[in-house]
């Protein structure tokens, strides 16, 4: 890999950051990453990130949970061991179904919530013993960092970023 240079532009205000992101995008630079201490609404759109599909996965997991609960209760209560409770034998699924609704609901929620959260943790690479990758400890406190790769345009980029109100620029040179 060739030697790469990235610029970390530090901002200390979300509004300034949003203006900067728009300006940098308008100048046709690619923003590698933005590290934020809190969610900045509209940042993903301004950066050009695709919308997340995690809610769709949750819906599918919920459907899975519903199917699991239906199959499980049909097998246990109707097929494997039908019971005669108070003179009301459980011979057909449809007649017994109303009593199964609460657990159908609970398992739908259980699957939708847990599998979605697990998907989120895996996709965003979050798990115990994972090392944090934010370049500066201040990004969890009150600073935002915009990371941009330099392609022979260091000084122009530097001027642009300083002009957008970056409080600090860190030019990181990788030499191999």
């Amino acid at each position: 890999m060739a030697a790469t240079t990235v610029i970390h532009a530090y901002y200390d205000d979300d509004d300034v950051l949003m203006h900067a992101v728009k300006k940098v995008k308008a100048e046709k630079h690619h923003i590698e990453e933005v590290y934020c201490p809190f969610p900045v609404h509209g940042l993903d759109k301004a950066m050009g990130l695709a919308p997340t599909r995690i809610a769709i996965t949750s819906f599918m997991y919920g459907c899975l949970g519903l199917i699991v609960s239906i199959v499980m209760m049909k097998y246990i209560m109707i097929d494997d061991w039908p019971m005669d409770i108070g003179g009301k034998p459980s011979f057909t699924y449809i007649e017994n179904m109303p009593a199964f609704v609460p657990i159908m609901f609970e398992l739908t929620v259980f699957f939708a919530a847990h599998l979605m959260v697990i998907t989120f943790y895996l996709r965003s690479r979050l798990w115990p013993f994972k090392k944090a990758e934010n370049p500066d400890v201040r990004t969890t406190d009150a600073h935002f960092i915009m990371e941009i790769e330099v392609h022979n345009n260091e000084s122009a980029l530097k001027d642009l970023l300083l002009d957008t109100g970056a409080v600090e620029l860190n030019i990181i040179k990788n030499s191999h």
């Binding site: 532009a9 205000d13 509004d15 300034v16 949003m18 203006h19 990453e33 590290y35 201490p37 809190f38 969610p39 900045v40 609404h41 509209g42 993903d44 301004a46 950066m47 990130l49 997340t52 995690i54 949750s58 919920g62 209760m73 246990i76 209560m77 061991w81 019971m83 009593a99 609460p102 657990i103 609970e106 929620v109 259980f110 919530a113 979605m116 959260v117 943790y121 965003s124 690479r125 979050l126 798990w127 115990p128 013993f129 994972k130 990758e133 934010n134 400890v137 990004t139 969890t140 406190d141 009150a142 300083l162 109100g165 409080v167 600090e168 620029l169 860190n170 030019i171 040179k173 030499s175």
Partner: protein, 577 residues
């Protein structure tokens, strides 16, 4: 882009002149400081109560359920009362974090973290009771539908008690991941502020390596929203199903269709009261008055008043329906509740739950912290008696007058109940010393719309931010994998002060830096020359600043680090408060 506009009529939710960094400092302060004597006293009492409860539980399990006050007629009393009471208390946490999130109520952000913690801790207490009542708790896994060696012996999916198992375990586990997911960014903040390696390691572990990329935040917000959407019907289902334990039976007094909504309203009512009790203490002890304001207390009081009125409405509906049904057993069950030997419990329930919250109609009363605190405790006493009345008075005079009896708890019943209160407070007190008790990332996201500082700026017609174009530039050269940080070009002194914050001699008093072990008169002068005058500045020093300082002063390299100046300074800061 997100507009930070908020109608001027809205009162600020974060008081004081607070910027983003101030929020981090305030939320981290109770964790980074030391516990005061009061904390230790309360913790010891809670621990003693917990241990007493453990003893009572061991006695119950080793001897048998016969040590409780149950008898042939009243075969369900304190255990189920306590179970329902604790589950009910748990409901406010999810309600605050999920329902108020869906309604975009910003005031929830100061209280949702603690309310969710309370949910988890109280559901743990609730779950204890059915498990102990099993008699052989080591066989508790029998409630799970697992293939087994007894022939095809399955659990009964027609039973509301099994629905309860599914509802409570789904509720507990979903609340836990909802809570923990919200905690990740805040643990990340603590991890990045931590100075001592042990704290850094622990908070690094529990933060799951939270990095805060734009994509992470995008997913985080979506996950929070979907979890809120899932948790809202979940929380309503849980107490609905708890009420089915009674409503699906044929006992007069239990067999009523109003139970589900009535129980859910009661749960929210008692849960908010418990949140109120805990937060009124915590805001004082942890100095969070700027975040948990009187406005928050007032809004919670309004919820308590409304849900209390719903509960009162349900009580009266029950009485009306008993009379209107024409069923004499049903009529007697309610007449017996109000005028029988347990009239005092009924009266307590009515006065604590229906009458006492009505005084919240007066603004003076619902903004009074002392009265709010008293009412919150009164409500929880009343809600305990509500469950006691429903359960015991419906059972103690059954269809057969010869078996009519009374219930009196034994010391074991009382001991287990006190033990769960102790356990709850042990957990909550430990939480309040080690967890970020306010969702700081969320508070920061509403700071510009609802913070006092920015509201004042907006009222004055001033801009909320300024773009300064004289940022500093530094260069870092990374060699293969070994990182060598060489700050160059820019002024080292400037970058040091930039990280530590500058000192304004006009408004601040310089601290006696010599108090810090390792700083002598000479070093103090050197530090002052660099612009470092206060403990606050020293407390912000990290490895990078130490190195920078060493290269600037050229004396005693590594000294500051060994003596942990930042940690010491933080201690002095806390002592000053």
């Amino acid at each position: 882009m997100a507009s930070h506009y908020e109608a001027p009529i809205r009162k600020p939710l974060v008081l004081g002149d607070k910027g983003y960094h101030d929020v981090s400092v305030d939320i981290a302060a109770p964790i980074e400081g030391r516990a005061n004597r009061l904390w230790w006293i309360v913790f010891s009492i809670a621990l003693a109560a917990f241990l007493w409860g453990v003893g009572a539980i061991i006695y119950t399990i080793s001897t048998g359920i016969g040590v409780w006050g149950l008898n042939k007629t009243v075969n369900w009393a304190w255990d189920i009362t306590n179970f329902v009471w604790w589950v009910g208390i748990g409901h406010a946490g999810t309600l605050i974090s999920a329902v108020l999130l869906l309604f975009r109520q910003k005031w929830r952000m100061a209280i949702n973290r603690s309310a969710e913690a309370m949910t988890i801790f109280s559901v743990i207490q609730a779950a204890l009771f059915p498990v102990i009542h099993m008699g052989r708790p080591w066989l508790a896994y029998w409630v799970v539908p697992i293939p087994n060696q007894f022939g095809s012996l399955w659990v009964n999916f027609n039973s509301p008690l099994l629905w309860d198992v599914f509802a409570i375990s789904t509720y507990l586990s979903v609340s836990l991941v909802f809570w923990w997911t919200g905690l990740l960014p805040d643990f990340g903040m603590l991890r990045d502020r931590a100075v001592k390696p042990f704290q850094k390691k622990i908070y690094g572990l529990v933060s799951f390596g939270w990095t805060g990329r734009a994509k992470d935040w995008q997913r985080f917000e979506e996950v929070s929203l979907v979890l809120a959407g899932l948790a809202t019907p979940l929380v309503l289902s849980v107490h609905t199903i708890v009420s089915f334990d009674f409503a699906t039976s044929v006992i007069p007094g239990w067999h009523t269709t109003i139970f589900p909504p009535y129980f859910v309203a009661g749960a929210i009512f008692s849960g908010f009261a418990m949140v109120q009790t805990l937060l009124i203490i915590m805001r004082k002890v942890s100095h969070l008055e700027d975040y948990i304001t009187v406005q928050h207390i007032e809004l919670m009081n309004i919820v308590i008043m409304i849900t209390g009125s719903i509960v009162g409405c349900a009580y009266i509906t029950e009485l009306f329906m008993a009379w209107y049904s024409g069923v004499e057993y049903e009529q007697y069950a309610f007449l017996n509740r109000a005028t029988g030997p347990y009239w005092w419990a009924y009266l307590l329930m009515m006065s604590c739950n229906v009458l006492s919250p009505q005084i919240m109609w007066f603004k003076k009363i619902r903004t009074s912290i002392v009265i709010s605190f008293i009412i919150s405790i009164v409500v929880n006493v009343g809600m305990w008696f509500e469950r006691f009345v429903i359960i015991v008075t419906s059972l103690h005079r059954d269809y057969l007058p010869s078996s009519w009896t009374m219930f009196s708890p034994t010391f074991v019943d009382i001991g287990i109940f006190i033990g769960t209160i102790g356990f709850f407070f042990v957990l909550f007190l430990l939480y309040s010393r080690t967890f970020p008790v306010i969702a700081q990332a969320e508070v920061k996201s509403i700071l510009k719309s609802s913070g006092a500082r920015y509201k004042a700026l907006r009222d004055a017609g001033k801009p909320l931010y300024t773009i300064s174009k004289n940022g500093i530039v530094r260069e870092t050269i990374v060699n293969n994998n070994q990182e060598a940080v060489v700050p160059s070009e820019s002024n080292q002194e400037e970058s040091l002060l930039n990280a530590l914050g500058s000192f304004d001699a006009g408004t601040q008093d310089p601290d006696d830096l010599k108090k810090v072990k390792g700083i002598g008169p000479l070093m103090e002068k050197t530090l002052n020359k660099l612009g470092i005058f206060s403990f606050l500045q020293v407390s912000k020093m990290t490895q990078k600043e130490y190195d920078l300082l060493d290269s600037l002063t050229g004396t005693f390299p590594g000294r500051a680090q060994r003596d942990d100046w930042a940690g010491q300074a933080r201690m002095f800061l806390n002592n000053d408060k």
